[in-house]
């Protein structure tokens, strides 16, 4: 960062912002206006702030803004642009798999990573995969069913 700018790709757009000491979550929300990423605990437990950094789901509250220099970042605002993200969003609505919606962006980012690695996860595998994402409203069951439904929908349309 010779010119004291953080340069990275956000949801396919090239970004250059003045260096800041804050974390990635604050940078996305307060500097770049992408408020879909939520801050729940700022100590890496709740998963509401999950984003994808260079292909891996990452806690944006535990990632310093300067760490993303040169990285590719994807947030919930962009997740619906691929089949998997869109299928998950459809299934979350259909199954009423969210209530207040605060955990949902992080939950969907995690679920999308699961489905990219495992096209047919069982219920226990789904429950295990989302155990780093806290939801305080649902009983988790609708979320498990939504992810399972999305996986099935994706398998059915895989060859389309």
């Amino acid at each position: 960062m010779p010119d004291d700018l953080i340069r990275f790709t956000l949801n396919g757009r090239r970004i250059a912002v003045p260096s800041t000491r804050g974390h990635l979550g604050d940078l996305l929300r307060h500097e770049l206006g992408e408020t879909g990423t939520h801050i729940g605990c700022e100590h890496g437990v709740c998963g509401a702030c999950n984003v994808v950094m260079d292909g891996r789901v990452t806690r944006s509250c535990l990632t310093l803004a300067v760490q993303v220099d040169g990285a590719e970042i994807e947030t919930i605002e962009h997740a619906g642009n691929d089949r998997c993200g869109a299928a998950l969003q459809d299934a979350f609505v259909a199954r009423n798999a969210f209530q207040c919606g605060y955990c949902t962006p992080g939950m969907i980012m995690t679920a999308r990573e699961l489905l990219s690695e495992n096209a047919a996860p069982g219920r226990a595998e789904i429950r295990d995969a989302i155990s780093g994402n806290l939801c305080r409203c649902t009983g988790y069951q609708a979320i498990v069913e939504a992810i399972s439904d999305a996986a099935e929908a994706l398998r059915e349309t895989a060859d389309d």
């Binding site: 729940g40 605060y102 979320i143």
Partner: protein
């Protein structure tokens, strides 16, 4: 089209209106920004009890970006302290709570000074450099310490720590216990919890000196209540205050209260004439959000040889914390914890004494279920103890004691409860069948012989939902308990429903839209919902005590009837028939000869643009408003039965949940898709209470587990699938027939896990009285029972 789908009620419609939340397009309070916005970080009291001697702010003011450091004395000039002593609560006493500490602080985490800066980071930097000079005072933290004869006072204005004392039922019930075939007795301890909304509390306040108006955006359940609170504390006209609750990331009762720090943020904006934002961080949430549930209790129950309950005698001691939560106080949980003991049953003689104790801890307040989970847990374990003493199956024991309705000629139970028709028998029947109770009991017996300890627990509950004005008015609270609907037919034929009900994810708004759509036979997308904004909605309550559909749905149904009647009368004039011969179907008026060609859009256009086309020259009002509050009943009681199947590892003390079933009666179910997961979410919070969640303070009142890694809430991996089924007994209090459901899961969840654990431990002779039932406590109970042998 079937009648069911046509009516709108009963269809499991997804919340299409909430899709934006799944796409990251929610608008929560921290997503709101204003030009010139300033940010607050609070300096908070480091001790459980202290006297503030001085504040040094020079270094903080040097930090670039810091605009002001404001202390309690400065705010006291423009903002009154909370006075939370509702008349009519026997013996209630709470100290005034200023927005910022003026001289005495009473719990660790109480806000002392507001550092105001151009950014939150600068405000936090400044807060670190504010120096507070303190005298530490003796702190009283546990209920036992607060009760002690020589206890130091939690607040120096009082000489002792008793904040509330009340008795429900008879003064003396000893006769019922004399000669009873069995008397069982047990002690209980309930851990202090907090609601842990995933979105912390937060507020944006803007006093605009140009318009002399205060605008507040707050993550909250009851914007109308908060309008009155801010106006009163700041000496403003309520009409100059507008409070908006945007998307709210979970509330659970925690966001029902007025908080000193949020009042301070509003007062700072008033003082500076600038918009300010304050977002609570997670540590502040743990130390300064409303806590709940901390209680100790003892209970005795007398039964006859056939298992009929002859009497209940209970004492509940509740931990209130440092102040009564404003404006509704902290007594509600303690009162309901005592009053609701035995509620599902005919209990013979009844006596329950309740005492509330001040402590140098965060104030306690409302959390989902408010006292009813405690009452249910006590009742259900007592029933199990009695069933073992009488050698009667626990399910049968419940059945023979269930209350169906009030005894003839009585207006209330001995505890003072007014319950209408209950359906506990029907719920239990369905539940036992769904779980295959008999088979589980056989399996349990077989496994016990192999040293595998499985437990089957039942918990029946009666819950007070949709609580009306009769509770709040006599307490002198400026809390509107009605829910209102202002329904407008727009010129394009679409409908707008402005409701006083608020939605923090329950889906109430979607369900009301579904109900309204059903009344006109249109798609729910044709109804625009407006809520959570005192500038745009009719006066009313908001969200608490499971009132959204029960009261707000009824108001909407009545508004639909009035609007529809006016439109049908107009249409009857045009079609030259009787209005009774007309009805709406898919937005179109159907008459004796079928489709009339008149639909909502045509009628709306006529009324708004061509009123002269009306045969009478008159058009009906395009906006109608209806309000509903239960009048014949103080509240609408709901009921249900929960069951848990679990296994205890006697070597590790761990509890593995194997199955969960609930059969609930919330009357008319408008949308089962929403109701079922609402129940599951409530149950998971009940499981959290039973197994994991506890606010832990050190002896000197330091909060010791203030992270989500240390205060453990349920995660997906530990939760069982939950079977949900319904019995539907529509309430006679309304035309809609819906009873509340938002808290039903939590009310029964704790008790069901408790009775299942108790059942699993029967072979060991152990009983765990202290909740949450952590592995350490389970193991300690098993070892104590082994030692006793």
């Amino acid at each position: 089209m079937t009648e069911l789908a046509n009516s709108g009620i009963g269809a499991p419609l997804p919340r299409e209106g909430a899709r934006r939340l799944a796409e990251g397009r929610g608008r929560y309070v921290d997503d709101i920004t204003l030009p010139g916005l300033l940010h607050i970080a609070f300096v908070r009291a480091p001790f459980a009890h202290g006297r503030l001697l001085g504040i040094e702010t020079d270094d903080a003011l040097e930090v670039p970006g810091v605009v002001a450091v404001i202390d309690g004395r400065r705010l006291a000039e423009i903002c009154a302290p909370f006075d939370t002593n509702p008349p009519g609560v026997p013996g209630h006493a709470s100290a005034p709570q200023p927005p910022l500490v003026v001289d005495e602080s009473c719990f660790q985490g109480e806000a002392v000074a507001a550092v105001v800066a151009e950014s939150r980071a600068a405000a936090e930097d400044g807060a670190e450099l504010v120096f507070l000079d303190w005298d530490e005072l003796p702190a009283v933290c546990s209920i036992e310490d607060a009760q002690a004869e020589d206890a130091a006072p939690v607040h120096t204005r009082f000489s002792d720590n008793l904040s509330l004392r009340h008795r429900f039922g008879a003064e003396d019930v000893s006769e019922a216990f004399h000669g009873a075939a069995h008397v069982v007795e047990a002690d209980f301890s309930f851990g202090r919890q907090t609601g842990v909304t995933l979105e912390p509390r937060g507020i944006v306040a803007h006093w605009d000196p140009r318009t002399e108006e205060l605008e507040v955006w707050q993550s909250h359940q009851v914007p109308w209540q908060m309008r009155e609170v801010y106006a009163r504390q700041l000496g403003l006209s309520p009409q100059s205050v507008r409070v908006t609750a945007p998307d709210v990331g979970g509330a659970f009762g925690l966001k029902l209260h007025a908080y000193a720090d949020e009042l301070a943020a509003v007062a700072v904006s008033r003082l500076l004439g600038r918009p300010v934002k304050y977002i609570v961080d997670r540590l502040e949430s743990f130390t300064a959000d409303a806590h709940a549930r901390e209680a100790r209790a003892s209970c005795r129950m007398a039964v006859d040889a056939e298992g009929h309950i002859l009497g209940i005698d209970a004492v509940v001691d509740a931990g209130f914390g440092a102040y009564a939560m404003h404006p509704r106080g902290s007594f509600g949980e303690a009162m309901q914890a005592a009053q609701m003991i035995g509620a599902p049953y005919r209990v013979g003689a009844f006596r329950a004494e309740v005492r509330g104790w001040r402590q140098n801890k965060a104030p306690s307040g409302a959390y989902r279920g408010v006292g009813q989970p405690i009452a249910c847990a006590i009742t259900e374990e007592m029933i199990d103890l009695a069933s073992r003493a009488a050698d009667i199956d626990p399910a049968e024991m419940r059945r023979i004691n269930y209350r169906r309705t009030l005894d003839e000629g009585t207006r209330a139970t001995q505890a003072g409860l007014v319950v209408e028709e209950l359906s506990l028998d029907a719920c239990l029947d369905k539940l036992l069948e769904a779980m295959d109770y008999t088979a589980l009991r056989s399996e349990q017996a077989a496994l016990r012989a192999k040293g595998i300890y499985r437990g089957i627990g039942l918990a029946s509950f009666v819950e007070l939902t949709g609580v009306g004005a009769g509770l709040y008015g006599p307490l002198g609270l400026t809390v509107a308990a009605n829910e209102a609907c202002r329904l407008t037919l727009q010129p394009d034929g679409s409908l707008t429903c402005a409701t006083s009900v608020t939605d923090q994810g329950q889906g109430t708004l979607s369900a009301i839209a579904q109900l309204i759509a059903g009344e006109f036979g249109i798609a729910p997308e044709g109804v625009r919902m407006v809520a959570g904004d005192t500038g745009r909605t009719p006066y009313g309550g908001g969200a608490w005590a499971s009132r959204g559909m029960a009261l707000g749905g009824e108001a909407a149904k009545r508004a639909c009837a009035r609007l529809r009647d006016g439109l049908l009368e107009l249409a009857a004039g045009i079609l030259q028939c009787e209005p009774e011969a007309l009805r709406f179907e898919q937005g179109e008026i159907i008459g004796p000869k079928g489709a009339s060609g008149l639909d909502l859009a045509e009628l709306a256009a006529l009324c708004h643009y061509r009123p002269y086309d009306s045969p009478t020259g008159q058009v009906p009002p395009m906006t109608v408003e209806e309000s509903f509050v239960p009048a014949a009943l103080p509240y609408i009681a709901s009921n249900g039965v929960h069951a848990v199947h679990l296994e205890v590892d006697p070597e590790l003390g761990t509890v593995d949940l194997l199955g969960y079933w609930v059969v609930d009666d919330c009357g008319t179910v408008v949308n089962p898709l929403l109701v079922d997961e609402q129940l599951r979410g409530g149950i998971v919070q009940g499981i959290g209470a039973a197994l994991y969640e506890e606010c832990l303070y050190s002896e000197d009142g330091q909060f010791t587990n203030g992270t989500l890694a240390d205060y453990v809430v349920p995660m997906a991996g530990e939760m069982p699938d939950i079977f949900v089924e319904h019995v539907s007994t529509p309430t006679r209090a309304t035309g809609l027939g819906a009873r509340g459901v938002g808290e039903a899961g939590t009310v029964g969840g704790l008790g069901a896990v408790r009775t299942a654990l108790g059942d699993a431990l029967v072979p060991t002779g152990a009983r765990v009285s202290q909740q949450p039932f952590t592995p350490g406590r389970v193991l300690a109970a098993i070892m104590a029972a082994e030692d006793a042998e």
